[in-house]
């Protein structure tokens, strides 16, 4: 994954959480539900890919 393709991991994860919470509602619009489900699937795929491809970086700071 290149730098410009880098996703904001934490933000994407929060998006996913929002979707999960959205589905907790009693009444949901099915069409919107399908959209959200697709979005959730996409986020999960992205997060997994990110974890697989990225490495931790160590940067030494100078005071």
């Amino acid at each position: 994954m290149t730098a410009d393709k880098k996703i904001n991991f934490s933000k994407s994860y929060q998006e996913l959480q929002k979707i999960v919470i959205w589905f907790e509602k009693e009444e949901v619009d099915l069409e919107e539900g399908i959209e959200k489900f697709e979005e959730g699937t996409k986020i999960v795929k992205e997060l997994k890919e990110y974890l697989e491809k990225m490495e931790n970086k160590i940067k030494e700071l100078k005071k």
Partner: protein
């Protein structure tokens, strides 16, 4: 011949002779603080005692009777009291016992001040992007931290500030590091302060008031992992999260990749089954609506069908019962024949009608002189009502 000196001159000369810095090792006794400003204590060994004096501003180390210390100071005879004492500039604790005592003293002080309060501990970011690490670059502690972090997680940036974790410079470098992370725009989500285990003397910096206050003052949440499981430091108590080891600090700051992925799968599964459930529910709702609508329509439809069926059966019934109906018609004919008024007239009755053809049921309906028709079994006549009284008169006249 010795010169004759005034007291002031004598003391001045003595102070000149004894001037200089000394390091004296001994045990503290009679420790007291006067007016919140002046510190007095005795420094003693088995055979001798010397008075010591310091100001609370110059001596930040907390002291207590029984502590073994090394005192850096200069001797002085005081003008006003004539007392001899050592003016203390610096005190260094000697031996584990003193360190332990000093540690407990400071711990109590900071605890009372609220530095360890549970309610000021902050929640760490679940998925940090940047982690600030204050550690010695070549230490096993930092090595362990990175190793565990790599095992568990990917994609974070570790910003390391290499510091001395023991010795003279440690306190200064560690506090400066906290200051750096909190004033520079490094945007770290969490700060990790780590070092390996050691004696109380080794951990002195982590037990110092300055480091404790630096941890306390950090705007960025702090995880502190010092030494082994059993070790504790004041920095630990002040930190937002205490890690038992540097490895444990890595476990605290990032989740485990495998746990996280199974959580992701679970989330997806959850929204999928939720979606499925909602679709099923919707389907049931539609089916139910359909049933309701059709059951409402079904009643009149059924009525219609029954009517149609019944109607279809009419000709069949008619056909089947034709003879019955014929017999019925014949007997009805007979019946009608019997009740036909014409038949009655044939038996000798007659009907009176007015000129409009209406049946006259009472003589009062007719005025004298009005005409009417009398209908017999055979033929009619036109008649006139005459005055019966006049008639009888006529008859009287007649007879």
């Amino acid at each position: 011949m010795l010169p004759i000196l005034s007291v002031s001159e004598f003391i001045e000369q003595i102070n000149g002779i004894i001037a200089g810095e000394f390091i004296i090792e001994g045990e503290i006794s009679q420790y007291k603080i006067s007016q919140g400003k002046w510190i007095f204590f005795d420094l003693k060994d088995d055979k001798a005692v010397v008075n010591c004096f310091a100001t609370v501003f110059s001596l930040t180390q907390l002291l207590e009777d029984g502590m073994k210390v090394r005192v850096l100071g200069y001797p002085k005879v005081h003008d006003k009291s004539g007392r001899f004492s050592v003016t203390v500039q610096k005190v260094e604790l000697v031996g584990e016992g003193s360190l332990k005592k000093a540690y407990l003293l400071l711990k109590k002080k900071l605890e009372e001040e609220g530095l360890f309060a549970i309610d000021r501990k902050r929640v760490l970011t679940y998925l940090p992007a940047k982690i600030g690490v204050i550690a010695s670059r070549d230490s096993a502690a930092f090595g362990d931290f990175v190793k565990i972090l790599n095992n568990r997680w990917s994609g974070v940036e570790i910003n390391l500030l290499n510091v001395a974790v023991q010795g003279e410079q440690a306190i200064k470098e560690i506090t400066e590091a906290f200051n750096f992370f909190n004033t520079q725009e490094t945007e770290c989500d969490v700060l990790v302060l780590i070092r390996g285990g050691g004696s109380l003397e080794d951990l002195a910096a982590f037990n110092s008031e300055a480091v404790a206050r630096a941890v306390y003052g950090s705007k960025i949440p702090v995880v502190c992992g010092v030494g082994h499981e059993r070790d504790e430091s004041l920095a630990d108590f002040v930190a937002d999260r205490r890690a038992s080891t540097p490895s444990n600090a890595a476990e605290i700051v990032v989740p485990d990749r495998r746990d996280f992925i199974s959580e992701l799968d679970f989330s997806l599964e959850h929204i999928f089954s939720s979606m499925q459930n909602k679709i099923l529910k919707q389907r049931r709702l539609i089916e139910q609506s359909f049933y309701t609508i059709s059951s409402v329509l079904e009643a009149p439809l059924q009525k219609c069908r029954t009517l149609m069926e019944n109607f279809k059966r009419v000709p069949v019934l008619l056909q089947n019962n034709l003879s019955v109906y014929q017999a019925f018609v014949l007997s009805a004919q007979r019946l009608f024949k019997n009740v036909d008024p014409k038949q009655v007239l044939k038996r000798g009755y007659s009907i009176a009608r007015d000129l409009n053809g209406l049946i006259i049921r009472s003589s009062k309906q007719l005025d004298v002189g009005s005409e009417f028709v009398v209908e017999f079994g055979e033929g009619n006549i036109l008649a006139e009502k005459i005055d019966s009284k006049n008639r009888s008169k006529k008859q009287t006249k007649l007879f």
